[in-house]
């Protein structure tokens, strides 16, 4: 398993799409606060501090996570079916379950790296321009740590779903297209169906799709923590098991 994770990390390091995504997101994350900075300067409005910027725009990071997972799933995993590399991997004398878990682990690491670009780069830039300011009373370094951990955990959950799609679809274009549509539509779909069906409403309430919005909440009640932690862990577990089941019996062309 160690070698499998090592080789996936080696491939991630050499993956051009991964670096393109990282660089593009870094550029956008640098440009986005600058627009506000110059706008506020010309209109005389007070500038955002690093803390304010993070609290105001953290929810937008969900789109980056979804986009990042969809694109990376297509180019990092599904692309291996097109190049034929998956044949070499599958015939290398390792069980399909291990191969899948190694891929999922490194894919989640890559997606997590992408998911942290916007909050870190933007907040650092705004802090350099206008100072960090103060987080609201009662939150502090622990809030930042919590945001970091939950962002990584939720990204891993999205990555697990993305990896499942790659095992089913095996084609980069289909994987990217389907994942993007799925991640963008699932919220509206579950909310819409949930308004008519109580069960779906509850399912949506405790799904990662809804709970992603709570990552940046300042105060989380102790009663909310189990759902906030169990939902992504359960999503990872269920998606990984389904992914392994699909991949284990898949004929690789």
């Amino acid at each position: 398993m160690y070698n499998l994770i090592r080789v996936e990390l080696f491939k991630l390091r050499k993956n051009r799409s991964f670096w393109t995504l990282l660089i593009a997101l870094t550029v956008l994350s640098l440009a986005y606060p600058l627009l506000y900075y110059f706008d506020h300067r010309s209109s005389g409005k007070p500038q955002f501090t690093g803390a304010e910027f993070l609290l105001t725009f953290l929810s937008s990071n969900a789109y980056v996570i979804k986009f990042g997972v969809a694109v990376l799933a297509g180019f990092f995993i599904s692309n291996e079916y097109a190049t034929g590399v998956m044949k070499t991997i599958a015939s290398s004398g390792n069980t399909r379950g291990r191969l899948y878990m190694a891929k999922l682990t490194v894919f989640a690491i890559g997606a997590a790296a992408i998911s942290l670009v916007f909050p870190i780069v933007s907040t650092v830039e705004v802090t350099l321009l206008s100072g960090f300011g103060q987080l609201p009373e009662g939150s502090g370094a622990i809030f930042l740590l919590r945001v970091l951990v939950l962002t990584i955990l939720y990204t891993a959950a999205y990555a697990a779903i993305g990896a499942l799609f790659t095992a089913i679809l095996t084609d980069s274009g289909k994987t990217i297209g389907f994942s993007m549509i799925f991640f963008l539509v699932i919220d509206v779909a579950l909310a819409g169906i949930g308004s008519k069906l109580k069960f779906v409403e509850t399912l949506y309430k405790y799904s990662i799709f809804k709970l992603t919005g709570d990552i940046g909440r300042l105060n989380i009640e102790s009663g909310d923590w189990p759902a906030l932690l169990i939902a992504p862990i359960l999503t990872i577990a269920v998606s990984a098991i389904l992914g392994i089941l699909v991949f284990r019996r898949k004929d690789i062309k």
Binding site: N3, G84, M86, S91, S92
Partner: protein
């Protein structure tokens, strides 16, 4: 007792109602170069994919190095290398990086095997050139280097000479023969270039429409390839009469171009040539010939040659 690297027992594979493999019982002896022959869609790649674990049989089983069962086969596959259909490369990586990725994947200790393999296949000078910019021949050689990483005991090569220039084909053949002779690597090779296979294979398997028609050794093939005397004269009709009267045989055929193929009485070529000469015939060509693998294969599958 013969030691087998690969044995299949009634191996069958069905795709959406199409029987791609039908109860195939194939065996490859240790140390053999096994030429696997069949038309497009005959089932060659399907069988290779089952052996390498890319697909699963509908019925039957297979043994690799005597091991059978899912887990044992996975372990046994560590002892083999393969190129299936086309070389599987990371297009954005260099030759060195491609080998390094595969070295880590297979858990091969020591990095020295990477430059050694690159040298062995003649790709040591490719530097920072990405695999996507390689010619087809270079890709084939890199694919072979990947298959040979970790010193496998058995390699499966599906069309390894695709895209190689004539010199490349010769080099590949010599390399495979050397690997077989000096390192004792068993090789299963499928190729459309039957004349090329004929120059290196020690054993053959002929597959047609999912069924293994025949397995034979090179010696058996040579025995079965029909020998004849090829005769070209200025008057084929008269020559036919001479052969019948003087040699006492009707075991010959006159081809459309007037050439004659005599299948018997081959031990008396001088007697025949004298008879033809004495009959006043002008002999343009007179030589012993034999069927090659291609014509044997065509005859065996009973069809047109679309290997």
């Amino acid at each position: 007792m013969q030691e087998y690297v690969l044995k299949t027992n009634n191996l069958s594979k069905k795709f959406k109602g199409h029987q791609a493999l039908d109860k195939v019982n194939l065996s490859i002896r240790k140390g053999a170069i096994y030429g696997f022959i069949g038309q497009n869609g005959a089932g060659k790649s399907t069988l290779i994919r089952l052996v390498t674990g890319l697909a699963f049989p509908t019925e039957g089983s297979l043994e690799l190095f005597g091991a059978s069962g899912e887990q044992a086969l996975i372990q046994a596959r560590k002892r083999m290398g393969s190129i299936i259909e086309s070389p599987a490369l990371f297009p954005h990586m260099t030759a060195h990086e491609n080998l390094e990725a595969n070295r880590i994947l297979r858990g091969i200790p020591g990095k020295d095997c990477v430059p050694r393999m690159l040298k062995q296949v003649g790709l040591e000078g490719t530097g920072n050139k990405k695999a996507k910019n390689f010619s087809l021949g270079m890709k084939q050689r890199l694919g072979l280097a990947i298959a040979l990483l970790g010193d496998p005991e058995f390699i499966i090569l599906d069309e390894p000479t695709n895209g190689l220039d004539p010199m490349g084909v010769i080099e590949m053949r010599e390399l495979l023969k050397t690997l077989n002779r000096e390192l004792g690597i068993t090789i299963m090779i499928s190729s459309h270039i039957l004349s090329e296979l004929h120059l290196m294979a020690s054993h053959y398997g002929i597959i047609h429409r999912g069924k293994l028609l025949e397995q034979l050794t090179a010696d058996e093939l040579n025995e079965r390839c029909q020998q004849y005397i090829y005769i070209q004269v200025n008057d084929p009709g008269k020559a036919a009469a001479v052969i019948q009267n003087e040699m006492g045989t009707a075991d010959f055929e006159v081809m459309q171009d007037g050439a004659i193929k005599l299948y018997s009485q081959m031990e008396k070529p001088s007697h025949l040539s004298s008879a033809l000469f004495s009959a006043g015939l002008e002999i343009e060509k007179f030589m012993p010939m034999g069927e090659d693998l291609e014509s044997y294969f065509t005859k065996r599958i009973g069809g047109t040659p679309h290997v």
